[in-house]
Amino acid sequence: MNPHAKLISLLSLFLGTTITISSNHWVMAWTGLEINTLAIIPLISKSHHPRAVEASIKYFLVQATASALVLFSSISNAWVTGQWDITQMTHPTSCLLLTTAIAMKLGLAPFHFWFPEVLQGTSLTTALLLSTIMKFPPMTILLMTSHSLNHTMLVSLALISAALGGWMGLNQTQTRKILAFSSISHLGWMAIIITYSPKLTILTFYLYILMTTAVFLSLNTTKTLKLSTMMTSWTKTPVLNASLMLTLLSLAGLPPLAGFMPKWLILQELTKQEMTVTATIISMLSLLGLFFYLRLAYYATITLPPNSANHMKQWHINKTTSTLTAILTSLSITLLPLTPMMFATL
């Protein structure tokens, strides 16, 4: 891609994210969201493959509709209450409309249909950008208005997201689609606790970004786009595959890895709020996701796959070690003992 166009797109992405995160007025929040939508379109379609172009069109249509809904909810709230403050969203219809709009922006079920296809149409690094940075502004808006949102709607969106993220990820062989469905189910966990304890949503969000960045960067090192590639990538980077197994299990939420921390604290908070049935349902639905994470982890460390390579580890590797991947992988595996500190400081 043209370096100047790439620079403008990336700078505008950061500008849009910063504007939305630091805004108090609805129009500024909407402006930041629109700048983000526009700036990422050339990045999604940068390979000029028809699938990438289709992904960029789908992304644009969904995000533009969601931005329009954000604008409708903020204008209707301003009409009724006379002010445009994001934290003072008091009209219930506006809150409902806003929840729908943010669910579309994030990819919460039942507005998730665009997410796996958009992620599949782009490269691994752009998919990482879509899963992490592009979730910041809508999540921030949800957190800022969390005290006035409808509990029932968010809990039902969260349960449907966890269910669909788990079930639809089971039949996937493409790693980007698997990570898309993992994102959908993690967003379900974030949404279920936001009206009870927004701090836990922030914690889940940050940990999710940490773990998924580690996974995406590890997959990007070996360009693992499908499961069959993953079965033979141990010959190129055996240690990275071993650590990828642990990072994937952390993403699945297995103790004693770091991914267990948000699930544990969320289940504890849900139990305190007398929502034990909900807590049971969402943890059972996460078991579906565990199956495909285990399958991925197994394929990452298997040494006698069906499509075998005819050599052991390659003698010459031209992949330099990436410090960022190393740091993120270590953090996403070993962060669990720091739970008291992380929960207290958020």
Partner: protein
């Protein structure tokens, strides 16, 4: 006078209905023209002359013209027109939606407090439209810069998307 404002509002809704049920863009744009002229008329009735003029100039005189030129370059020889049965279906469907909305809105108004005019509610400070423009250059300069960058970014994004003839994003070029 209120009949005129009501008529303009009706034209606005019908214009938007025509856009929504359009057979092809060449005919849908007619509904857009009618709708935006009627919307500008409603703005005039509220006393916001400057914003209405700017809207007419930029929307109809700028964006519509560019749209017409670009669409005429890519026109198909036999587009669908207004007389198709499919168009009638869409049109009647949207008319039903409008009718239901009016009835429900009428019921809501009757139970909340009687007949209202167009400018009876909402933020009052919106009426000072020309001083708003001055605000844009003084207190609101941050928003001005951000809005300007957003529009410039749209240009860059479109240029990047159509760059490269058939090796680029749009294969049909």
């Amino acid at each position: 006078m209120s009949y005129l404002v009501f008529f303009l509002g009706l034209c606005f809704v019908l214009g938007v209905l025509a856009v929504a049920s359009n057979p092809s863009p060449y005919y849908g744009i007619l509904g857009l023209v009618v709708g935006s002229v009627a919307g500008c008329g409603c703005l005039l009735s509220l006393g916001m002359s400057f914003v209405s003029l700017v809207l007419l100039l930029v929307y109809l005189g700028g964006m519509l013209v560019v749209f017409v030129y670009s669409v005429s370059l890519a026109a198909d020889p036999f587009p669908e027109a207004w007389g198709n049965w499919r168009v009638w279906g869409y049109g009647m469907g949207f008319l039903l939606v409008v009718f239901v909305g009016v009835v429900v809105g009428g019921l809501m108004e009757l139970e909340m407090g009687g007949v209202r005019t167009v400018d009876c509610g909402g933020p009052v400070s919106v009426r000072m439209d020309f001083s708003g423009v001055a605000m844009f250059y003084s207190w609101g300069v941050g928003m001005f810069l951000v809005a300007g960058w957003g529009l410039l970014l749209t240009l860059f994004v479109v240029l990047e998307l159509v760059r490269g003839l058939s090796r680029g994003t749009i294969r049909a070029v």
